[in-house]
């Protein structure tokens, strides 16, 4: 630095020309970096599901209320039985809301044809209804009684590989509604009573979902929390109930975390 060098003082009106030039070069470089990084970060994301959460839009659906295997409204959709899983507002299950509704109506609603209003969530052929308005979600009894009895088909003992998720996020509310960044949200949802599901992906990329219950059909939400968002193998008795798969399992002995991935599939389980 020579005596004739320019010297920058921040409180002066202008920066010396050579300093200002360096600053301009740096800003131009930043502009290129910003555009390049934005593009790179956007296009390299793995993408987001085409699922739908009709936030702000309330829909009323009619059907028969069941609480087994999980709270759902069985509706007749184009001549076929379709189960609309019911969930509470936020990260809560539907049981508390249904209980509140029963207190208002002063009678049990199980097995009755009712109208419920809420926010629809749907993806991959599955539908959920969030009881957004609490007990006000109940819109009265329905005259429709075309819902058939549940068709059950045993698929025997099965060992399935997949990820335990909460259906509310996985099927529409969150994008992404799976993987590690979503783990704490899924834990909250399951802890709040939303039934756990297993997302199964086959080699062709086809996706199916399976409701997880205990061997006696009891809720196992708390017991599966340590495995949420991990790749797991789970064993149990698989059953098809209308348009949902249900796996009856013992979470204390029949779930194995597959990470690290090199453990592969040859794991002795389900003896």
């Amino acid at each position: 630095m020579t005596n004739n060098d320019e010297f920058f003082i921040g409180w002066e009106t202008n920066a010396p020309p050579s300093y200002a030039k360096k600053g301009r070069t740096f800003v131009i470089l930043l502009i290129f970096i910003i555009i390049l990084l934005s593009l790179g970060w956007v296009i390299s994301q793995r993408g987001f599901a085409g699922s739908t959460f009709e936030l702000g839009k309330l829909s009323t659906i009619e059907g028969k209320l069941q609480i087994r295997p999980v709270p759902l409204l069985k509706v007749n959709y184009q001549g076929e039985p379709h189960s609309v899983l019911l969930i509470g507002f936020g990260k809560m299950g539907a049981e508390a809301t249904l209980s509140d509704i029963e207190k208002v109506t002063n009678e049990s609603l199980i097995g009755k044809n009712i109208k419920l209003r809420g926010t629809l969530i749907f993806h991959n052929g599955k539908t959920l209804l969030e009881l957004t308005q609490g007990s006000e979600s109940f819109q009265g009894f329905s005259n429709q009684s075309n819902a058939t009895n549940t068709k059950r088909r045993s698929l025997g003992e099965q060992s399935l590989k997949g990820e335990i998720l909460d259906p509310k996020c996985a099927l529409g509310v969150m994008k992404p509604g799976f993987g590690k960044p979503h783990r704490s949200c899924a834990v909250r949802c399951l802890s709040g009573g939303i039934p756990p599901i297993l997302k199964i992906t086959n080699k062709e990329g086809g996706v199916n979902y399976c409701i997880l219950l205990g061997e006696d059909g009891q809720a196992i939400n708390k017991k599966v929390l340590p495995y949420v968002a991990d790749q797991i193998r789970i064993c149990g008795t698989l059953e098809e109930q209308d348009d949902w798969l249900v796996l009856y399992t013992n979470p204390e002995s029949d779930i194995l975390r597959l990470s690290p991935f090199w453990m592969g599939d040859n794991i002795p389980m389900c003896n």
Partner: protein
């Protein structure tokens, strides 16, 4: 420099700095959001806000961390350093948006308090791969909050430059926490070479620049450090120092800047009372030593800031014999007037 505190002491260069900063922030947000909506329109607004604010804060943190070593390596980058605190506070604002939206999105409306959920939803603290990465982000945000909240000369003065500087050096802890937060969070999900590559590139850039700046400083200190005995010590020839400039020496552990100006030589502490900037890399402007970092000024003869300012430096006795400069490394009390050594005209 100031005698009273104001939220921001605006001047033209600060305004230019902030306008450019806001324009670049706007450019990132517009580019990212528009590209996202065009190329991946299925994204939810919450995820868009979380990703845009998080990535912007992460990018800004890299710029902030690079400015320091860049200024050490090349003084032409000083204008970037001058108003860095506005960049830091803005980065904290976007970090806060990112953090708040994450807590609302992932932890609220559940069966427990959202903050309790943050620490307990994922209990795999013993696992590296499955470590609860959001907790790392939370602690980084706390550090950034402390820094942003004390990012004002009021706090600098009241906490003392040493403590304040130590507090703000915690940015490196925050950076480490954020690196792991990103690596164990979104990068694990996306698993794209672009995300992993930019993370690695940013880290290499920050570490590389700091290493280069450290090597430059160490070389300089090695050359100029002298373990002298008592009394006056020879430091250099008069001709070694440019007019209105200084050379820096470390004598008996004292960091001393020796200035040549108006046919005189004076020695003062090299450490600016504001943010410990290197005064010896400054210049005599309008008769005052002027700090290269933020323009704080001191008279070379007594180490005092021009009135009404009150900052003072230690001063050192200087002698000239046979064209050589001698400095006594025993410091005089801050603001002590000492006669400068006169340079005899040839």
């Amino acid at each position: 420099m100031s005698v009273s505190y104001q939220p921001v002491q605006w001047n033209r260069q600060k305004k230019v700095y902030d306008r450019i900063m806001l324009a670049l922030i706007g450019l990132f947000l517009v580019t990212f959001v528009v590209l996202q909506l065009l190329l991946q329109p299925e994204i939810t607004p919450e995820t868009l806000i979380i990703r845009a604010s998080g990535l912007l804060a992460f990018l800004m943190l890299h710029v902030i961390l690079c400015i320091g070593p860049l200024s050490r390596l090349n003084a032409r980058f000083m204008p970037l350093l001058y108003n860095r605190r506005h960049l830091g506070v803005s980065m904290f604002v976007f970090s806060l948006i990112h953090g708040l939206f994450n807590i609302i999105q992932f932890h609220s409306l559940g069966d427990v308090n959202p903050l309790y959920s943050l620490f307990t939803a994922n209990l795999q603290y013993g696992s590296l791969i499955n470590f609860p990465f959001q907790v790392l982000g939370f602690f980084a945000l706390l550090i950034l909050f402390l820094m942003a909240a004390t990012s004002h000369d009021f706090w600098l003065k009241n906490l003392g430059p040493k403590f304040w500087k130590s507090l703000h050096m915690m940015v490196y802890i925050a950076y480490g926490l954020i690196l792991f937060h990103v690596m164990l969070g979104v990068v694990q999900l996306e698993q794209s070479p672009v995300w992993i590559g930019t993370l690695a590139l940013g880290m290499v850039l920050v570490l590389g620049l700091h290493l280069a700046a450290a090597i430059k400083t160490a070389r300089h200190e090695k050359l100029e450090a002298k373990n002298a005995g008592e009394g006056f010590q020879e430091v250099c020839k008069i001709s070694d120092i440019e007019e209105n400039r200084a050379k820096i020496f470390t004598l008996n552990g004292e960091n001393i800047a020796v200035f040549k100006y108006d046919g005189k030589v004076s020695a003062v502490s090299n450490i600016c009372r504001h943010q410990h900037g290197p005064l010896g890399e400054g210049k005599i402007v309008d008769g005052c030593i002027t700090c290269p970092w933020h323009g704080y000024q001191y008279f070379p003869g007594n180490g005092q800031s021009p009135p009404p300012y009150t900052e003072k430096l230690e001063t050192y006795e200087v002698q000239i014999k046979d064209e050589k400069i001698y400095v006594n490394p025993k410091p005089h009390a801050e603001g002590t007037a000492l006669p400068p050594a006169q340079i005899e005209s040839q």
